[in-house]
């Protein structure tokens, strides 16, 4: 028996999302009342500029940051769901195919070799982002190639290869950290904690493009993911082109997670636990699971980021610390409640 009807959960999460976004806009070093936020939002559309300082905090700093949190959270959670379905393993997450490990090597490499402050030709994106994205994509390609033979891609081999590449990436990271000076070391570790602090409209635009692509492509794969849970040969007997689906989903995951990590650093937990929690609530049907996890991931990351902004005023905490601190206890509580049934 299930705890919640799937359609009800999707509606609740869809209503929760804008509420979280609005409240989140008001939170920060300067607390802004809701009425002024609404004013600021309307002012841009109407063109009238009244309280320009509030407007600029809301529109130039907070809004892009909150939208970035929303998009990154949604993408990480939905791709975590996809990976768990594809690997038929509820413990899988996007880092399993080597994206995160490769990305952190790429980022560390840039920090150590050229220093993290260099601004790339594309204004608003640091060179670290490029390094992280390239690192993530290259390591995914290696993992995919190792696991693919003429018989197709073996998900078991891919899991193991992902672990191996992760270990190599970890070693490289330690090596790079060992040779860094204090300032680089701090930069590396802060990057690895995940931070939405550097959000701007360019990043939101890039992330929006990636999310849009996922929004178009993923819903059509829900049925195939359901069939894949039966096993690969069963899915083939149901008329699913398993190898094509695998290739497509792995490519999308590398792209989505690669871009997320490049723009926001390593934000763990969302991709692992959100799909798990939602599945415990409504079951493994991907037609509901995909939208629910996207919405829940978006809300969780916005909430975590809002708290990160106000918890140690006037400073900020890296967002990645908060996601785990918030979600893990909830997850443990859920596990204890369902202990007898799994």
């Amino acid at each position: 028996m299930r705890y919640l009807a799937a359609d009800k959960l999707v509606w609740c999460l869809a209503l929760l999302l804008p509420a979280v976004a609005i409240v989140s806009l008001s939170m920060g070093t300067v607390s802004i009342p809701l009425s002024q936020i609404v004013e600021a939002l309307f002012a841009t559309m109407g063109g009238g500029v009244e309280n320009s300082q509030t407007n600029s905090i809301v529109l130039d700093i907070r809004l892009p940051r909150i939208l970035l949190a929303l998009l990154v959270g949604a993408v990480l959670a939905v791709l975590g769901t996809v990976m768990q379905g594809l690997f038929r393993n509820p413990l899988a997450d996007p880092s399993l195919i080597g994206v995160s490990g490769g990305a952190s090597v790429g980022a560390s490499l840039v920090i150590v070799l050229v220093g993290g402050t260099v601004i790339s030709p594309l204004a608003g994106l640091s060179l670290i982002s490029f390094g992280a994205f390239m690192g993530g994509v290259i390591s995914t390609l290696i993992v995919y190639r190792v696991a693919t033979s003429s018989l197709g891609t073996s998900v078991t081999t891919m899991l193991l290869a992902g672990i191996a590449i992760g270990a190599i990436a970890g070693a490289f990271n330690s090596l790079l950290s060992y040779f860094s000076d204090n300032q680089m070391l701090r930069q590396i570790s802060v990057w690895q904690m995940g931070n939405l602090g550097g959000a701007n409209w360019l990043k939101v635009g890039i992330m929006g493009g990636v999310s849009g692509l996922l929004l178009v492509v993923l819903p059509a794969q829900a049925k195939s993911l359901n069939a894949l849970l039966l096993g690969e040969s069963e899915a083939r007997y149901l008329g699913i082109d398993v190898q094509r689906i695998k290739r497509k989903l792995i490519f999308l995951t590398a792209l989505g997670v690669g871009v997320s990590v490049a723009l926001a650093g390593l934000i763990g937990f969302v991709g692992l636990i959100i799909p798990h929690i939602i599945r415990l609530l409504i079951g493994p049907d991907h037609r509901w699971l995909l939208p629910s996890t996207a919405l829940a991931g978006a809300s969780l990351l916005m909430i975590a980021d809002s708290i990160a902004r106000v918890v140690v005023l006037p400073a900020e905490l890296p967002t990645g610390i908060l996601t785990a601190l918030l979600g893990a206890p909830f997850f443990v509580a859920l596990l204890i409640r369902q202990r007898g049934e799994l």
């Binding site: 028996m1 299930r2 038929r88 509820p90 049925k223 359901n226 069939a227 849970l229 039966l230 096993g231 040969s233 069963e234 083939r236 007997y237 149901l238 008329g239 699913i240 082109d241 599945r279 079951g283 493994p284 049907d285 049934e341 799994l342």
Partner: protein, 257 residues
């Protein structure tokens, strides 16, 4: 129309799993494969359903080479129940069975009806809303059986349909073994070709139109149960001394060991 294997051999990892097999599985008939462990029954099923490519020879389904079939069209005429299921996600029985409706996609209402009917046929209506991960082995097996039945529940536009079951009765009690036989006969009477692996020779004798004995990767004997099941063959293939008489009611061969 039929599934026809034309002189197929299978070599995998240095082993000869199948050698020069010719076999025809006719629509509307029940074909049963029997044989000792490791004889190649499951490998033969995998080659006949396209899961493995034969090293030599060819397999055709409704007169079209298996590899030429569009994977979606093939799914609407060929349903396969493997020996083991990997499913370890908490779908309800309803959800598992409705996955069997993916190939025909006749709409939500029809799918729901087929799902309910298929579950009822395998005596599993009471499982509808229960979670697969919490079911017993026999219940899981029945739900999976209902899933493949749902896949060929209504006739397909792409030719005669086939139902392939690898040891469907392995986890069943006596009543559900009988139930499986009657379901299989029902589908055969409707024109579906049934191919299954069974271990119980008496069950096989009672439902097979064509009994195929596989031994050491090739076909030892093939024909009606009355022709095939002899004391000599049982001793040769299974290494067991047996007495064969007639079943007092069904008049099929009865193997007593």
């Amino acid at each position: 129309m039929s599934i026809v294997a034309n002189n197929i051999s299978l070599h995998l990892a240095g082993f000869d799993l199948l050698r020069n097999i010719d076999l025809s599985v006719e629509a509307g008939q029940v074909t049963v494969l029997v044989g000792p462990n490791g004889a190649g029954k499951s490998s033969l099923l995998k080659v006949l359903t396209g899961e493995l490519n034969p090293s030599q020879g060819s397999v055709s389904l409704n007169q079209l080479e298996l590899s030429q079939w569009d994977i979606q069209k093939k799914a609407s005429v060929l349903a396969v129940l493997p020996q083991h299921s990997e499913l370890n996600f908490p779908f309800t029985a309803n959800e598992v069975v409705s996955l069997g409706c993916i190939p025909h996609a006749t709409g939500y209402a029809v799918d729901q009806q087929i799902t309910a009917d298929a579950l009822q046929l395998v005596d599993a209506s009471y499982l509808q809303r229960r979670l697969y991960t919490q079911m017993s082995g026999g219940e899981k097996q029945r739900v999976q059986l209902a899933r493949v039945l749902a896949q060929v529940w209504s006739p397909s536009d792409f030719g005669e349909q086939f139902l392939v079951l690898d040891e469907p009765t392995a986890a069943f009690d006596l009543a559900h073994q009988q139930m499986t036989l009657s379901i299989v006969k029902q589908f055969a009477a409707r024109g579906v070709g049934v191919l299954m692996v069974l271990h119980d020779l008496n069950l096989a004798a009672r439902c097979a139109d064509n009994l195929v004995v596989v031994n050491g990767g090739s076909i030892e004997a093939c024909g009606s149960p009355a022709q095939v099941l002899t004391e000599h063959l049982v001793e040769k293939v299974f290494d067991v001394k047996a007495t064969i008489t007639r079943h007092p009611i069904t008049d099929t061969p009865l193997v007593i060991t």
